[in-house]
Assembly symmetry: C2
Protein backbone atom coordinates (compact mmCIF):
# COMPACT_ATOMS: atom_id res chain seq x y z
CA UNK A 1 0.00 0.00 0.00
CA UNK A 2 3.06 2.23 0.11
CA UNK A 3 5.15 3.46 -2.77
CA UNK A 4 5.37 6.07 -5.46
CA UNK A 5 2.70 6.10 -8.10
CA UNK A 6 4.39 5.25 -11.42
CA UNK A 7 2.67 7.98 -13.37
CA UNK A 8 2.29 10.99 -11.20
CA UNK A 9 5.11 10.34 -8.79
CA UNK A 10 3.02 11.04 -5.71
CA UNK A 11 3.12 8.93 -2.62
CA UNK A 12 0.37 6.49 -1.79
CA UNK A 13 0.28 6.85 1.98
CA UNK A 14 -2.42 5.90 4.43
CA UNK A 15 -3.35 9.56 4.81
CA UNK A 16 -3.65 10.01 1.08
CA UNK A 17 -5.81 6.94 0.70
CA UNK A 18 -8.06 8.02 3.52
CA UNK A 19 -8.54 11.49 2.17
CA UNK A 20 -8.93 10.07 -1.26
CA UNK A 21 -11.75 7.76 -0.30
CA UNK A 22 -13.76 10.76 0.64
CA UNK A 23 -13.41 12.39 -2.78
CA UNK A 24 -15.79 11.14 -5.45
CA UNK A 25 -16.43 12.21 -8.99
CA UNK A 26 -19.89 12.80 -10.37
CA UNK A 27 -21.31 13.70 -13.74
CA UNK A 28 -24.09 16.27 -14.18
CA UNK A 29 -25.93 16.79 -17.45
CA UNK A 30 -27.99 19.80 -18.49
CA UNK A 31 -30.32 18.31 -21.11
CA UNK A 32 -32.17 20.87 -23.21
CA UNK A 33 -35.10 20.58 -25.52
CA UNK A 34 -37.20 23.24 -27.23
CA UNK A 35 -40.76 22.41 -26.19
CA UNK A 36 -44.15 23.86 -27.07
CA UNK A 37 -45.46 25.31 -23.82
CA UNK A 38 -48.76 24.20 -22.30
CA UNK A 39 -51.47 26.80 -22.67
CA UNK A 40 -51.27 29.80 -20.32
CA UNK A 41 -54.75 30.95 -19.41
CA UNK A 42 -54.12 34.65 -18.79
CA UNK A 43 -57.54 35.98 -19.59
CA UNK A 44 -58.04 33.28 -22.16
CA UNK A 45 -54.92 34.05 -24.16
CA UNK A 46 -53.14 30.85 -25.18
CA UNK A 47 -49.43 31.08 -25.82
CA UNK A 48 -47.91 28.45 -28.02
CA UNK A 49 -44.44 29.88 -28.55
CA UNK A 50 -42.05 27.07 -27.73
CA UNK A 51 -39.50 27.54 -24.96
CA UNK A 52 -36.09 26.14 -24.14
CA UNK A 53 -36.50 23.62 -21.33
CA UNK A 54 -34.12 21.70 -19.13
CA UNK A 55 -34.65 18.26 -17.63
CA UNK A 56 -34.73 18.24 -13.81
CA UNK A 57 -35.66 15.79 -11.09
CA UNK A 58 -37.03 16.63 -7.68
CA UNK A 59 -35.00 15.53 -4.69
CA UNK A 60 -37.01 13.45 -2.23
CA UNK A 61 -34.28 13.19 0.42
CA UNK A 62 -32.29 15.67 2.45
CA UNK A 63 -30.16 17.63 2.02
CA UNK A 64 -32.13 20.04 -0.09
CA UNK A 65 -35.12 17.77 -0.51
CA UNK A 66 -37.81 19.40 -2.60
CA UNK A 67 -35.31 21.29 -4.71
CA UNK A 68 -34.66 20.33 -8.31
CA UNK A 69 -31.44 18.75 -9.52
CA UNK A 70 -29.74 17.88 -12.77
CA UNK A 71 -29.63 14.23 -13.79
CA UNK A 72 -26.31 12.59 -13.06
CA UNK A 73 -24.44 10.53 -10.57
CA UNK A 74 -21.21 8.90 -9.70
CA UNK A 75 -18.52 8.07 -12.22
CA UNK A 76 -17.76 4.34 -12.16
CA UNK A 77 -14.21 3.01 -12.42
CA UNK A 78 -14.61 1.37 -15.81
CA UNK A 79 -16.31 4.16 -17.75
CA UNK A 80 -15.16 7.48 -19.16
CA UNK A 81 -17.13 10.66 -18.61
CA UNK A 82 -19.31 10.61 -21.76
CA UNK A 83 -20.22 6.97 -21.15
CA UNK A 84 -21.08 7.77 -17.59
CA UNK A 85 -23.22 10.73 -18.63
CA UNK A 86 -25.17 8.53 -21.02
CA UNK A 87 -25.60 5.81 -18.43
CA UNK A 88 -26.87 8.22 -15.80
CA UNK A 89 -29.21 9.87 -18.25
CA UNK A 90 -30.68 6.54 -19.22
CA UNK A 91 -32.34 6.50 -15.81
CA UNK A 92 -34.34 9.61 -16.70
CA UNK A 93 -34.89 9.67 -20.45
CA UNK A 94 -34.53 7.56 -23.55
CA UNK A 95 -30.89 8.11 -24.43
CA UNK A 96 -31.63 7.13 -28.02
CA UNK A 97 -33.13 10.58 -28.37
CA UNK A 98 -29.93 12.32 -27.31
CA UNK A 99 -28.49 13.99 -30.41
CA UNK A 100 -25.61 15.87 -28.82
CA UNK A 101 -23.50 15.46 -25.72
CA UNK A 102 -20.60 17.71 -24.93
CA UNK A 103 -18.40 18.32 -21.96
CA UNK A 104 -18.53 21.62 -20.14
CA UNK A 105 -16.44 22.69 -17.19
CA UNK A 106 -15.59 20.93 -13.96
CA UNK A 107 -16.81 22.21 -10.60
CA UNK A 108 -14.14 21.36 -8.10
CA UNK A 109 -14.68 23.54 -5.04
CA UNK A 110 -14.07 21.19 -2.11
CA UNK A 111 -17.09 22.71 -0.35
CA UNK A 112 -19.48 22.69 -3.29
CA UNK A 113 -21.75 20.14 -1.61
CA UNK A 114 -22.09 19.35 2.09
CA UNK A 115 -20.37 16.25 3.39
CA UNK A 116 -17.66 14.43 1.52
CA UNK A 117 -16.08 16.13 -1.42
CA UNK A 118 -17.69 15.58 -4.83
CA UNK A 119 -16.08 16.86 -8.00
CA UNK A 120 -18.65 17.46 -10.74
CA UNK A 121 -17.95 17.20 -14.46
CA UNK A 122 -20.77 18.89 -16.30
CA UNK A 123 -22.23 18.20 -19.72
CA UNK A 124 -24.53 19.81 -22.24
CA UNK A 125 -27.04 17.40 -23.75
CA UNK A 126 -29.56 18.12 -26.51
CA UNK A 127 -32.77 16.40 -27.57
CA UNK A 128 -34.56 17.31 -30.81
CA UNK A 129 -37.96 18.89 -30.98
CA UNK A 130 -40.54 16.29 -31.85
CA UNK A 131 -39.26 13.72 -29.34
CA UNK A 132 -41.54 13.19 -26.35
CA UNK A 133 -39.61 10.82 -24.12
CA UNK A 134 -41.22 9.05 -21.18
CA UNK A 135 -40.17 10.52 -17.85
CA UNK A 136 -40.14 9.06 -14.34
CA UNK A 137 -42.62 10.67 -11.96
CA UNK A 138 -39.94 12.71 -10.13
CA UNK A 139 -38.66 14.18 -13.40
CA UNK A 140 -39.97 17.08 -15.49
CA UNK A 141 -39.08 19.66 -18.12
CA UNK A 142 -38.68 23.21 -16.81
CA UNK A 143 -38.50 26.32 -18.99
CA UNK A 144 -35.11 27.91 -18.41
CA UNK A 145 -36.83 31.28 -18.05
CA UNK A 146 -38.69 30.06 -14.95
CA UNK A 147 -36.41 27.72 -13.06
CA UNK A 148 -37.53 26.36 -9.70
CA UNK A 149 -35.32 26.40 -6.63
CA UNK A 150 -32.37 24.24 -7.52
CA UNK A 151 -30.02 22.01 -5.57
CA UNK A 152 -26.43 22.98 -4.77
CA UNK A 153 -24.72 24.76 -7.66
CA UNK A 154 -26.91 23.22 -10.35
CA UNK A 155 -28.40 26.53 -11.34
CA UNK A 156 -24.94 27.78 -12.29
CA UNK A 157 -24.43 24.68 -14.39
CA UNK A 158 -27.66 25.33 -16.27
CA UNK A 159 -26.74 28.96 -16.92
CA UNK A 160 -23.34 27.91 -18.12
CA UNK A 161 -24.83 25.36 -20.48
CA UNK A 162 -27.31 27.87 -21.89
CA UNK A 163 -24.55 30.33 -22.64
CA UNK A 164 -22.52 27.68 -24.39
CA UNK A 165 -25.48 26.53 -26.44
CA UNK A 166 -26.29 30.08 -27.53
CA UNK A 167 -22.71 30.73 -28.59
CA UNK A 168 -22.47 27.51 -30.56
CA UNK A 169 -25.72 28.15 -32.41
CA UNK A 170 -23.94 31.10 -34.02
CA UNK A 171 -20.78 29.47 -35.30
CA UNK A 172 -21.52 25.75 -35.58
CA UNK A 173 -24.24 23.51 -37.02
CA UNK A 174 -25.34 22.45 -33.55
CA UNK A 175 -28.93 23.32 -34.41
CA UNK A 176 -29.26 19.87 -35.96
CA UNK A 177 -29.43 18.48 -32.43
CA UNK A 178 -32.47 20.57 -31.53
CA UNK A 179 -34.40 20.46 -34.81
CA UNK A 180 -36.48 17.65 -36.31
CA UNK A 181 -34.98 15.67 -39.17
CA UNK A 182 -36.95 17.74 -41.67
CA UNK A 183 -38.40 21.16 -40.96
CA UNK A 184 -39.55 24.44 -42.43
CA UNK A 185 -37.59 27.64 -42.00
CA UNK A 186 -40.24 29.03 -39.69
CA UNK A 187 -40.02 25.97 -37.47
CA UNK A 188 -36.28 26.41 -37.33
CA UNK A 189 -36.74 30.07 -36.58
CA UNK A 190 -38.85 29.31 -33.52
CA UNK A 191 -36.28 26.79 -32.32
CA UNK A 192 -33.43 29.27 -32.66
CA UNK A 193 -35.51 32.01 -31.05
CA UNK A 194 -36.29 29.80 -28.07
CA UNK A 195 -32.71 28.65 -27.62
CA UNK A 196 -31.16 32.10 -28.06
CA UNK A 197 -33.79 33.94 -26.07
CA UNK A 198 -34.35 36.65 -28.63
CA UNK A 199 -36.31 37.05 -31.82
CA UNK A 200 -34.59 35.62 -34.90
CA UNK A 201 -35.60 36.76 -38.38
CA UNK A 202 -36.66 33.83 -40.54
CA UNK A 203 -35.48 35.47 -43.76
CA UNK A 204 -31.96 36.06 -42.51
CA UNK A 205 -31.76 32.71 -40.78
CA UNK A 206 -32.51 30.98 -44.04
CA UNK A 207 -29.90 32.97 -45.89
CA UNK A 208 -27.17 32.69 -43.30
CA UNK A 209 -27.54 28.95 -42.80
CA UNK A 210 -28.06 28.40 -46.52
CA UNK A 211 -24.95 30.34 -47.49
CA UNK A 212 -22.89 28.33 -45.03
CA UNK A 213 -24.36 25.10 -46.40
CA UNK A 214 -25.61 24.22 -42.95
CA UNK A 215 -29.14 23.52 -44.18
CA UNK A 216 -30.22 22.07 -47.55
CA UNK A 217 -33.69 22.13 -49.11
CA UNK A 218 -35.15 18.65 -49.55
CA UNK A 219 -37.23 19.66 -52.57
CA UNK A 220 -40.53 18.83 -50.88
CA UNK A 221 -43.00 21.26 -49.32
CA UNK A 222 -45.18 21.22 -46.23
CA UNK A 223 -48.95 21.78 -46.64
CA UNK A 224 -50.14 25.16 -45.31
CA UNK A 225 -52.31 25.44 -42.22
CA UNK A 226 -56.08 25.95 -42.04
CA UNK A 227 -55.83 29.67 -42.62
CA UNK A 228 -53.99 29.30 -45.91
CA UNK A 229 -50.64 30.62 -46.91
CA UNK A 230 -47.99 29.53 -49.27
CA UNK A 231 -46.69 26.00 -48.62
CA UNK A 232 -43.29 26.02 -46.94
CA UNK A 233 -40.21 24.35 -48.38
CA UNK A 234 -38.74 21.59 -46.26
CA UNK A 235 -35.11 21.65 -45.21
CA UNK A 236 -32.74 19.37 -43.40
CA UNK A 237 -29.35 19.89 -41.82
CA UNK A 238 -26.63 19.00 -44.30
CA UNK A 239 -24.55 17.18 -41.67
CA UNK A 240 -25.87 15.32 -38.66
CA UNK A 241 -22.45 15.48 -37.13
CA UNK A 242 -21.23 18.42 -35.12
CA UNK A 243 -19.21 20.84 -37.27
CA UNK A 244 -17.72 24.31 -36.86
CA UNK A 245 -19.01 26.46 -39.68
CA UNK A 246 -17.55 29.88 -39.02
CA UNK A 247 -14.10 29.30 -37.67
CA UNK A 248 -12.56 32.69 -38.32
CA UNK A 249 -14.97 35.37 -37.22
CA UNK A 250 -12.12 37.83 -37.12
CA UNK A 251 -8.37 37.83 -37.68
CA UNK A 252 -8.62 35.30 -40.46
CA UNK A 253 -5.42 34.10 -42.04
CA UNK A 254 -4.34 35.86 -45.28
CA UNK A 255 -6.07 34.82 -48.47
CA UNK A 256 -3.01 33.57 -50.38
Amino acid sequence: MRGVHPISGFRLTIENVKSHISTTHEVLVAVFQVRPQPIHRNGGATSDTPELCVLLWERALDPMSGTWALPGGRLEPDEDLPDSARRQLAQKVDVQELTHLEQLSVFSDPQRVPGNRVIASTFLGLIPCPAEPELPTDTAWHPVARLPEMAFDHRIVVDHARTRLAAKLSYTNIGFALAPHEFTVSTLKSIYSAALGYHVDATNLQRVLGRRRVITPTGTTAPPGKTGGRPAAMYRFTDTRYRVTDEFAALRPPAD
Copy 2:
Protein backbone atom coordinates in the same frame (compact mmCIF):
# COMPACT_ATOMS: atom_id res chain seq x y z
CA MET B 1 -18.56 2.20 5.98
CA ARG B 2 -21.94 1.27 4.52
CA GLY B 3 -24.75 3.61 3.65
CA VAL B 4 -26.13 5.86 0.99
CA HIS B 5 -24.19 8.98 0.11
CA PRO B 6 -26.41 11.92 1.08
CA ILE B 7 -25.76 13.85 -2.14
CA SER B 8 -25.53 11.42 -4.97
CA GLY B 9 -27.49 8.59 -3.52
CA PHE B 10 -24.95 5.93 -4.43
CA ARG B 11 -23.92 3.16 -2.06
CA LEU B 12 -20.60 3.21 -0.27
CA THR B 13 -19.78 -0.50 -0.36
CA ILE B 14 -16.43 -2.20 0.11
CA GLU B 15 -16.21 -2.80 -3.64
CA ASN B 16 -16.88 0.82 -4.39
CA VAL B 17 -14.27 1.98 -1.96
CA LYS B 18 -11.69 -0.45 -3.31
CA SER B 19 -12.24 0.55 -6.90
CA HIS B 20 -12.33 4.14 -5.83
CA ILE B 21 -8.95 4.08 -4.16
CA SER B 22 -7.41 3.20 -7.48
CA THR B 23 -8.86 6.24 -9.25
CA THR B 24 -6.96 9.47 -8.81
CA HIS B 25 -7.37 12.90 -10.28
CA GLU B 26 -4.50 14.89 -11.76
CA VAL B 27 -4.12 18.34 -13.24
CA LEU B 28 -2.08 19.00 -16.40
CA VAL B 29 -1.20 22.49 -17.59
CA ALA B 30 -0.08 23.52 -21.06
CA VAL B 31 1.83 26.73 -20.37
CA PHE B 32 2.60 28.82 -23.44
CA GLN B 33 4.94 31.70 -24.01
CA VAL B 34 6.02 33.43 -27.20
CA ARG B 35 9.80 33.27 -27.11
CA PRO B 36 12.55 34.65 -29.35
CA GLN B 37 14.25 31.57 -30.75
CA PRO B 38 17.98 30.93 -30.27
CA ILE B 39 19.95 31.46 -33.45
CA HIS B 40 19.66 28.72 -36.08
CA ARG B 41 22.95 28.34 -37.88
CA ASN B 42 21.74 27.06 -41.24
CA GLY B 43 24.54 28.34 -43.41
CA GLY B 44 24.99 31.31 -41.13
CA ALA B 45 21.42 32.54 -41.41
CA THR B 46 20.14 33.65 -38.00
CA SER B 47 16.42 33.50 -37.45
CA ASP B 48 15.00 35.67 -34.72
CA THR B 49 11.30 35.32 -35.39
CA PRO B 50 9.75 34.40 -32.05
CA GLU B 51 7.85 31.15 -31.72
CA LEU B 52 5.08 29.83 -29.51
CA CYS B 53 6.61 27.52 -26.93
CA VAL B 54 5.23 25.16 -24.33
CA LEU B 55 6.77 24.26 -20.98
CA LEU B 56 7.72 20.57 -20.66
CA TRP B 57 9.74 18.46 -18.26
CA GLU B 58 11.63 15.32 -19.11
CA ARG B 59 10.61 12.14 -17.32
CA ALA B 60 13.49 10.46 -15.55
CA LEU B 61 11.54 7.36 -14.45
CA ASP B 62 9.63 4.64 -16.24
CA PRO B 63 7.12 4.35 -17.68
CA MET B 64 8.03 6.48 -20.67
CA SER B 65 11.25 7.81 -19.17
CA GLY B 66 13.00 10.17 -21.54
CA THR B 67 9.75 11.46 -22.99
CA TRP B 68 8.50 14.93 -22.22
CA ALA B 69 5.48 15.65 -20.07
CA LEU B 70 3.30 18.57 -19.10
CA PRO B 71 3.69 20.02 -15.63
CA GLY B 72 1.01 18.84 -13.25
CA GLY B 73 0.23 16.29 -10.63
CA ARG B 74 -2.31 15.01 -8.21
CA LEU B 75 -5.28 17.01 -7.01
CA GLU B 76 -5.22 17.27 -3.22
CA PRO B 77 -8.38 16.97 -1.13
CA ASP B 78 -8.44 20.54 0.08
CA GLU B 79 -7.84 22.42 -3.18
CA ASP B 80 -9.93 23.11 -6.24
CA LEU B 81 -8.59 22.59 -9.74
CA PRO B 82 -7.22 26.10 -10.46
CA ASP B 83 -5.48 26.17 -7.08
CA SER B 84 -4.00 22.78 -7.76
CA ALA B 85 -2.81 23.85 -11.19
CA ARG B 86 -1.07 26.87 -9.69
CA ARG B 87 0.49 24.81 -6.95
CA GLN B 88 1.82 22.19 -9.35
CA LEU B 89 3.14 24.85 -11.68
CA ALA B 90 5.00 26.53 -8.86
CA GLN B 91 7.36 23.57 -8.90
CA LYS B 92 8.44 24.43 -12.44
CA VAL B 93 8.08 28.19 -12.95
CA ASP B 94 7.44 31.39 -11.07
CA VAL B 95 3.67 31.42 -10.86
CA GLN B 96 3.74 35.18 -10.38
CA GLU B 97 4.41 35.38 -14.10
CA LEU B 98 1.25 33.47 -14.97
CA THR B 99 -1.18 35.96 -16.55
CA HIS B 100 -3.93 33.57 -17.58
CA LEU B 101 -5.13 30.17 -16.44
CA GLU B 102 -8.17 28.51 -17.92
CA GLN B 103 -9.70 25.09 -17.75
CA LEU B 104 -9.81 22.91 -20.83
CA SER B 105 -11.36 19.49 -21.14
CA VAL B 106 -11.08 16.42 -18.97
CA PHE B 107 -9.40 13.25 -20.21
CA SER B 108 -11.22 10.38 -18.57
CA ASP B 109 -10.44 7.24 -20.56
CA PRO B 110 -9.88 4.57 -17.87
CA GLN B 111 -6.90 3.29 -19.90
CA ARG B 112 -5.29 6.63 -20.67
CA VAL B 113 -2.22 5.81 -18.60
CA PRO B 114 -0.88 2.39 -17.58
CA GLY B 115 -1.59 1.19 -14.06
CA ASN B 116 -4.26 2.69 -11.86
CA ARG B 117 -6.78 4.99 -13.36
CA VAL B 118 -5.91 8.70 -13.49
CA ILE B 119 -8.42 11.27 -14.64
CA ALA B 120 -6.73 14.37 -16.03
CA SER B 121 -8.19 17.86 -15.94
CA THR B 122 -6.26 20.01 -18.36
CA PHE B 123 -5.52 23.73 -18.31
CA LEU B 124 -4.23 26.43 -20.61
CA GLY B 125 -1.70 28.74 -18.97
CA LEU B 126 -0.08 31.84 -20.46
CA ILE B 127 3.08 33.76 -19.60
CA PRO B 128 3.86 37.16 -21.15
CA CYS B 129 6.74 37.81 -23.47
CA PRO B 130 9.51 39.52 -21.61
CA ALA B 131 9.40 37.18 -18.62
CA GLU B 132 12.35 34.81 -18.35
CA PRO B 133 11.49 32.56 -15.42
CA GLU B 134 14.05 30.27 -13.82
CA LEU B 135 13.52 26.62 -14.74
CA PRO B 136 14.60 23.41 -13.03
CA THR B 137 17.17 21.40 -14.96
CA ASP B 138 14.65 18.81 -16.15
CA THR B 139 12.37 21.51 -17.58
CA ALA B 140 12.57 23.43 -20.87
CA TRP B 141 10.60 25.46 -23.39
CA HIS B 142 9.81 23.64 -26.62
CA PRO B 143 8.52 25.31 -29.80
CA VAL B 144 5.10 23.84 -30.52
CA ALA B 145 6.15 23.40 -34.15
CA ARG B 146 8.87 20.93 -33.13
CA LEU B 147 7.60 18.94 -30.18
CA PRO B 148 9.71 16.08 -28.84
CA GLU B 149 8.30 12.64 -28.12
CA MET B 150 5.71 13.20 -25.44
CA ALA B 151 4.38 11.11 -22.58
CA PHE B 152 0.96 9.45 -22.66
CA ASP B 153 -1.69 11.69 -24.22
CA HIS B 154 0.07 14.95 -23.42
CA ARG B 155 0.59 15.80 -27.08
CA ILE B 156 -3.16 15.83 -27.57
CA VAL B 157 -3.50 18.17 -24.63
CA VAL B 158 -0.99 20.57 -26.17
CA ASP B 159 -2.75 20.53 -29.54
CA HIS B 160 -6.05 21.12 -27.84
CA ALA B 161 -4.66 24.06 -25.91
CA ARG B 162 -3.11 25.61 -29.03
CA THR B 163 -6.41 25.44 -30.86
CA ARG B 164 -8.20 27.06 -27.98
CA LEU B 165 -5.63 29.81 -27.70
CA ALA B 166 -5.81 30.57 -31.43
CA ALA B 167 -9.59 30.76 -31.34
CA LYS B 168 -9.63 33.04 -28.32
CA LEU B 169 -7.09 35.43 -29.83
CA SER B 170 -9.73 36.20 -32.43
CA TYR B 171 -12.72 37.01 -30.26
CA THR B 172 -11.33 37.95 -26.84
CA ASN B 173 -8.63 40.21 -25.41
CA ILE B 174 -6.57 37.20 -24.31
CA GLY B 175 -3.53 38.66 -26.06
CA PHE B 176 -2.87 40.71 -22.91
CA ALA B 177 -1.63 37.52 -21.29
CA LEU B 178 1.06 36.99 -23.93
CA ALA B 179 2.17 40.59 -24.55
CA PRO B 180 4.36 42.83 -22.42
CA HIS B 181 2.68 45.57 -20.41
CA GLU B 182 3.56 48.11 -23.10
CA PHE B 183 4.43 47.28 -26.67
CA THR B 184 4.51 48.50 -30.25
CA VAL B 185 2.10 47.23 -32.86
CA SER B 186 4.88 45.36 -34.61
CA THR B 187 5.81 43.58 -31.39
CA LEU B 188 2.18 42.61 -30.97
CA LYS B 189 2.06 41.48 -34.56
CA SER B 190 4.93 39.06 -34.03
CA ILE B 191 3.25 37.70 -30.89
CA TYR B 192 -0.03 37.11 -32.70
CA SER B 193 1.78 35.61 -35.68
CA ALA B 194 3.65 33.18 -33.46
CA ALA B 195 0.57 32.15 -31.50
CA LEU B 196 -1.69 31.81 -34.53
CA GLY B 197 0.88 30.15 -36.75
CA TYR B 198 0.32 32.42 -39.73
CA HIS B 199 1.36 35.86 -40.82
CA VAL B 200 -0.71 38.66 -39.32
CA ASP B 201 -0.78 42.09 -40.94
CA ALA B 202 0.32 44.81 -38.51
CA THR B 203 -1.87 47.47 -40.12
CA ASN B 204 -5.03 45.44 -39.79
CA LEU B 205 -4.17 44.15 -36.35
CA GLN B 206 -3.87 47.70 -35.11
CA ARG B 207 -7.16 48.69 -36.64
CA VAL B 208 -9.12 45.66 -35.51
CA LEU B 209 -7.91 45.76 -31.92
CA GLY B 210 -8.15 49.54 -31.83
CA ARG B 211 -11.71 49.56 -33.10
CA ARG B 212 -12.71 47.02 -30.48
CA ARG B 213 -11.01 49.11 -27.79
CA VAL B 214 -8.83 46.15 -26.90
CA ILE B 215 -5.62 48.17 -27.12
CA THR B 216 -5.08 51.86 -26.25
CA PRO B 217 -2.15 54.08 -27.23
CA THR B 218 -0.16 55.26 -24.22
CA GLY B 219 0.93 58.48 -25.93
CA THR B 220 4.62 57.64 -25.72
CA THR B 221 6.83 56.33 -28.48
CA ALA B 222 9.63 53.79 -28.68
CA PRO B 223 13.00 54.89 -30.08
CA PRO B 224 13.76 53.43 -33.51
CA GLY B 225 16.48 50.82 -34.01
CA LYS B 226 20.03 51.34 -35.27
CA THR B 227 18.97 51.42 -38.87
CA GLY B 228 16.53 54.27 -38.36
CA GLY B 229 12.84 54.35 -39.08
CA ARG B 230 9.96 56.24 -37.62
CA PRO B 231 9.56 55.79 -33.87
CA ALA B 232 6.72 53.44 -33.00
CA ALA B 233 3.79 54.40 -30.82
CA MET B 234 3.43 52.41 -27.63
CA TYR B 235 0.20 50.64 -26.75
CA ARG B 236 -1.17 48.70 -23.86
CA PHE B 237 -4.15 46.39 -23.46
CA THR B 238 -7.12 48.36 -22.18
CA ASP B 239 -8.13 45.63 -19.73
CA THR B 240 -5.83 43.24 -17.96
CA ARG B 241 -8.77 41.02 -17.21
CA TYR B 242 -10.04 38.42 -19.63
CA ARG B 243 -12.93 39.78 -21.71
CA VAL B 244 -14.93 38.60 -24.70
CA THR B 245 -14.80 41.33 -27.33
CA ASP B 246 -16.70 39.90 -30.26
CA GLU B 247 -19.58 37.99 -28.77
CA PHE B 248 -21.85 37.84 -31.77
CA ALA B 249 -19.85 36.89 -34.81
CA ALA B 250 -23.06 35.88 -36.52
CA LEU B 251 -26.74 35.67 -35.69
CA ARG B 252 -26.58 38.74 -33.52
CA PRO B 253 -29.72 39.81 -31.75
CA PRO B 254 -31.84 42.52 -33.43
CA ALA B 255 -30.68 46.11 -33.05
CA ASP B 256 -33.73 47.49 -31.22
